[in-house]
Symmetry: C2
Subunit: 475 residues, 2 copies
């Protein structure tokens, strides 16, 4: 073992060392710098921004001017209650409170301080009791991350790529003093690059993200999530930062709460575009069928977890079917899905059965029964609410997508307090170590609501940066 004590000589020295360049890490870096610290951000990949760069760029905040202008009544208390309900009340109340109380300020900060532009709309995502979700102008997290990069540059903060955390280094008293890292690291070769020792005179901020793509780590908690399950995340979202925090005694919480999306297709990588068709057309207006039996497997409008579990339980990708009336009713176009081949069109249901090797008679009988439920406005099999305007599935062309769940978000992580300090197995802060973003746990409990991740990352990332800057006993 190399040990984890500080070296006799540091290769580099900074006040605050931030690990990870997504929302949380960049927010921490900016605040730490503004508070007077020298700061370096270490990013293991060649490209910066982590998973934040490819997310959909939707952020939740209560009590904003945009809500007021739209006549929407909202408050931190409302959002608190929504997050606690979704989280099955496993969330740490104090962390949720901090997130909702500081959400509107973090939103203004992105707009007024960073210069992020948002679409002129306020959306209501699933599980939110009112519209409070704001979408960046390019519908991507890159709009925020890009502005953060610019701010780093303006502030003179060093952002170093291909530097991978190897070991958190602690002194005799257990205080984190810096990191051993690999400089010139080439993903995924663990022994690539050269070892460097980087001192954090004040603190280390861990912002290494979730572990959606760490198959050994995630299968310990949920053995279903083996290599047959893709992820909506960048491939580099692995658990080494979280493991390091656990190794030095950080307390992990909610690790087995891993969110799967039921709307993803095995016929494209990551999130893709298939969810546009699945979520907005096939689930509300069509059916989801197990091709091995030709039968429906779930209420197509049940929550994410129920639907994803149902598909996984069949052991094979399932087929979602809608007819052209469903598409019309949704008011959407799916040309991009057809063009990519993720959604396929068929002249009749027999062709659907043949193409996907679905037993024909059971499948046709499933559609007949479903059409009966649509007419009677009562789904006697699965209790799916019949959405207004749903028509029987009988107007060609029929459009289909294969669906197989992908890992979307890992709610679990290392427990932090409201100052973003990492807590040990007895809930005492580990001196010199802060964490924020998906690597931290306790904010979302059993289930994260859509659009709350950016809020979480920005609010607690900013806190981590401010606290790290003042938090150390600089020598």
């Amino acid at each position: 073992m190399d040990g984890d004590h500080p070296p006799t000589r540091w290769d580099e020295q900074w006040d605050v060392v931030v690990i990870g360049s997504g929302f949380a890490g960049l927010a921490a870096a900016i605040e730490a710098k503004l508070a007077g610290s020298s700061v370096v951000v270490l990013e293991k990949m060649k490209g910066c921004g982590g998973n934040s760069f490819i997310c959909d760029g939707v952020m939740a905040a209560p009590g904003t001017t945009m809500q007021r202008n739209a006549g929407i009544q909202d408050s931190p208390d409302n959002m608190y209650e929504d997050m606690m309900q979704a989280g099955e009340r496993l969330n740490q109340p104090s962390l949720v409170r901090v997130v909702v109380e500081n959400a509107a300020d973090a939103f203004r900060w992105t707009r007024d301080f960073l210069g992020v532009r948002y679409l002129d709309r306020v959306d209501q995502f699933g599980g939110h009791s009112v519209p409070r979700c704001y979408t960046t102008h390019n519908r991507s997290g890159s709009a925020i991350v890009g502005k953060m990069f610019a701010k780093l540059e303006a502030l003179g903060i060093r952002l170093r790529t291909r530097v991978r955390l190897q070991t958190l280094l602690r002194d005799e008293d257990g205080r984190v003093r810096g990191v051993r890292a690999r400089k010139g690291y080439e993903y995924p070769r663990e022994d690539s690059g050269v070892v460097v020792h980087i001192q954090a005179r004040r603190a280390v901020v861990l912002a290494t993200g979730g572990f959606a793509n760490d198959i050994p780590f995630r299968t310990a908690q949920d053995p279903r999530l083996d290599e047959r399950i893709d992820s909506t995340n960048k491939f580099s979202t692995t658990a080494e930062g979280l493991r390091e925090a656990m190794r030095i005694g950080g307390l992990p919480v909610h690790l087995s709460r891993i969110q799967l999306g039921p709307w993803t297709s095995p016929d494209e990588k990551r999130y893709g575009i298939g969810p546009d068709f699945a979520s907005y057309i096939a689930f509300p207006y069509g059916v989801l069928v197990n091709p091995s039996t030709g039968r429906r497997i779930v209420n197509e409008l049940a929550d994410r977890k129920i639907r994803a579990d149902a598909i996984l339980a069949t052991g094979n990708p399932c087929v979602a079917v809608a007819d052209v009336k469903g598409i019309q009713r949704s008011g959407r176009t799916i040309d991009h899905c057809l063009k990519k081949g993720v959604v396929k069109a068929f002249a009749n249901l027999e062709d659907v059965a043949e193409h996907y090797s679905i037993p024909r008679e059971p499948f046709l009988s499933t559609v007949r029964r479903f059409n009966g439920y649509v007419r009677s406005e009562r789904d006697e099999e699965w209790g799916k609410p019949v959405v207004e305007g749903t028509a029987p599935l009988e107007t060609p062309p029929f459009h289909c997508i294969r669906l197989w769940p992908k890992v979307h978000h890992t709610m679990g992580g290392i427990l932090i307090d409201t100052d973003a300090r990492v807590l040990d197995l007895s809930k005492r802060p580990i001196p010199g170590l802060y964490a924020a973003g998906e690597v931290a746990g306790g904010v979302h409990g059993a289930c994260r609501l859509g659009s709350c991740a950016i809020t979480d990352c920005l609010v607690l990332g900013r806190i981590a940066g401010k606290q790290a800057a003042r938090g150390g006993s600089a020598p």
Copy 2:
């Protein structure tokens, strides 16, 4: 810090050191001794047997002679599927497989080798697809633990009480070599007793049980479970053994999966006798009412988790009500509950309302509506199935119990493999360390089925003992 390296001189030396004297620890001790090792069992409390001693003594096993004699078809595959379904398939399949394949043998072992006597009946507990549950003659785990004590004595195994694990000691290579403990420990004074160093020449077996009564540890995972929530367990079920395994790098799984019983009363300690009335009379034939509103809060026959969550969400103990016809229909007597005062009898519903400060009109209207559902055999509010023979709630005396959930079992723990070796954060075995029973995780996933804990403890405890005996590089 005292450090966790072996001392220059050991106070005691054994081949195998077992921590904990419940089912798992005793089974490990017996097998290790039979395999030729010298063995000591360390128990922190004055009394031995831990929580195993007070449990209900029901064990599940498939494919037994008792089943065959009763004409019951069963197999390890059946039990595997039942456990995986209950566990939401978060269970480690290989561990479940080991438990179900060795369950019948472990059951025979208790009967033929230990001499445990069972009632002549095979019961079907909730979640089991067939009857496969066997109850000890005195309806208590003490019947098994008692025979195990006798076997330890016959085999000359030392069982030492009031010796509390403090630190797992490791050599330079990370191999567990023994323990630092406190001898003469007086619960709960952590600094009581004197420090001793006990060498484990071959291995340490951790069998320290669950953490149902460890409030700081359990609230990290589920903040609702604060000091206002009791437990059905012995007060000494705390997490120090699990924390030690985590401290040296063991991988915890499913820590946030904590099972609450909805059938317990705040008017008595631990499991008590109230569940006899709640489970078999009030839930099937009566109603469960929130005294703050006078309204029902849940389908009284929903699963444990749904019911416990519903009661917790009200913020106060709820009142379950049945009339005398419900009691008659159940075929049970509740004199013991009335005598203890856990269940109270009232001449009319108005008196019930007054006694529990339930708003009278809403409460009477709740009962009237419920009686309508009974007559129409359809519960339009909560969808509770109307059990055959249910009568409207109108025949005095009315019997009531206050209910408030208690922590019953902690599914999470340190991950082990099928040899009961403790796995580290990269899923490599930690040399010299085994675990079994409730401190280990991965067997039950999201939810343990009733009667599967004894099976788990005995099967994996025996394996841990056999492996520990051969597992070491004895010097």
